[in-house]
């Protein structure tokens, strides 16, 4: 994969933007097409994504990759597109197991009120969100390095896709729900331990440092 100069992109260098677009436009197009089937509309969203990238490049944060930056804009454009459409009555559809995929969850968020707006909010600031992202990446890397792929699948299903313990038992051939709960519990313990290592100044996750916190 090519490397791109953020400085040149921020200087609105046409050559660098042309290179970036050449590298990413097919991937962004294929991604958009998963949610928006109509070609012309998908094309418009892709175009809007790159224009949004030009507008937003001056605020680009180095801890993110260009990949995340571009796909993040594309995702928001898709959500905007669906929110302009006629609202669909909210149902309890999000909890019937049909959305146990990234695509299903994205469509659910795009076509209805996002789960943020209807669930109890556990609000965290942008800095904490980024810190949490780093912690999760370290954790996933640990699982890769120890080749614990089955555990990674189970945790991705439970944590990223909102899968229920009961569903995980059937899906992954785990003994029972208690065993699944144990996998989740130990994972959260490890994430807390990583959070303590990465938060020596106690500024991100205050609850971890209160007396009695585990």
């Amino acid at each position: 994969m090519s490397e791109f100069s953020i400085a040149k992109l921020q200087a609105l260098d046409e050559g660098e933007w042309a290179r970036l677009q050449e590298e990413y436009f097919p991937r962004i197009y294929f991604y958009v097409k998963k949610s928006i089937k109509e070609h012309q509309t998908a094309e418009d969203v892709v175009q809007d994504t790159f224009l949004g990238a030009v507008r937003g490049i001056s605020n680009f944060k180095e801890e993110y990759t260009l990949d995340q930056f571009l796909f993040g804009i594309a995702r928001n454009r898709i959500i905007d597109f669906f929110r302009k459409k006629k609202p669909i009555p909210i149902s309890s559809q999000g909890d019937d197991g049909k959305n146990r995929s990234y695509l299903g969850l994205e469509r659910f968020a795009s076509e209805r009120r996002s789960p943020d707006e209807s669930a109890v909010a556990f609000e965290i600031s942008t800095a904490k969100r980024e810190a949490l992202g780093k912690i999760l990446k370290v954790f996933v890397q640990e699982l890769w390095e120890s080749e614990e792929f089955q555990k990674l699948k189970v945790l991705e299903f439970l944590l990223a896709l909102g899968g229920r313990n009961k569903e995980a038992v059937a899906k992954f051939g785990i003994r029972d729900e208690k065993a699944v709960a144990g996998i989740k519990f130990r994972a959260l313990e490890r994430l807390r331990a990583l959070a303590r290592q990465m938060d020596p100044s106690h500024e991100w996750f205050e609850g971890l440092w209160k007396p009695g916190a585990r």
Binding site: W17, E43, L51, F71, F122, K137, A160, L161
Partner: protein, 101 residues
């Protein structure tokens, strides 16, 4: 639901949001390519099969489609993508020049 269960529920909800938005478990495109070519070890290959085809990660699916497209003869590249390339180049170039004014 007990207080502890509710806290775990809230925490996993937030973890899920961050996991998806920051693409925590998305592998490098080189790994996706190795997986498509069948040169990954079974455990990792099995995980990528889950992540791409069962969990349906749209980002990784888009990367895989792009990798497959690049592997084909350039002459086979669809006319749609070629049109899109041209129109993107033109619109972005115009926009960049407007931004510089």
């Amino acid at each position: 639901m007990s207080g502890a269960e509710e806290r775990i529920d809230q925490m996993t909800f937030t973890l899920g949001q961050v996991w998806r938005e920051m693409r925590v478990s998305c592998p490098h495109p080189d790994l996706l390519l190795a997986w498509k070519e069948g040169s990954l070890e079974p455990g990792a290959s099995d995980y990528l099969e889950f992540h791409v085809n069962e969990a349906e990660c749209p980002y990784c699916q888009a990367v895989v489609e792009d990798l497959e497209r690049r592997g084909k003869d350039a002459a086979e590249e669809s006319a749609l993508l070629e049109e899109l390339r041209e129109s993107l180049l033109s619109s972005t170039r115009t926009f960049l020049r407007d931004q510089k004014k």
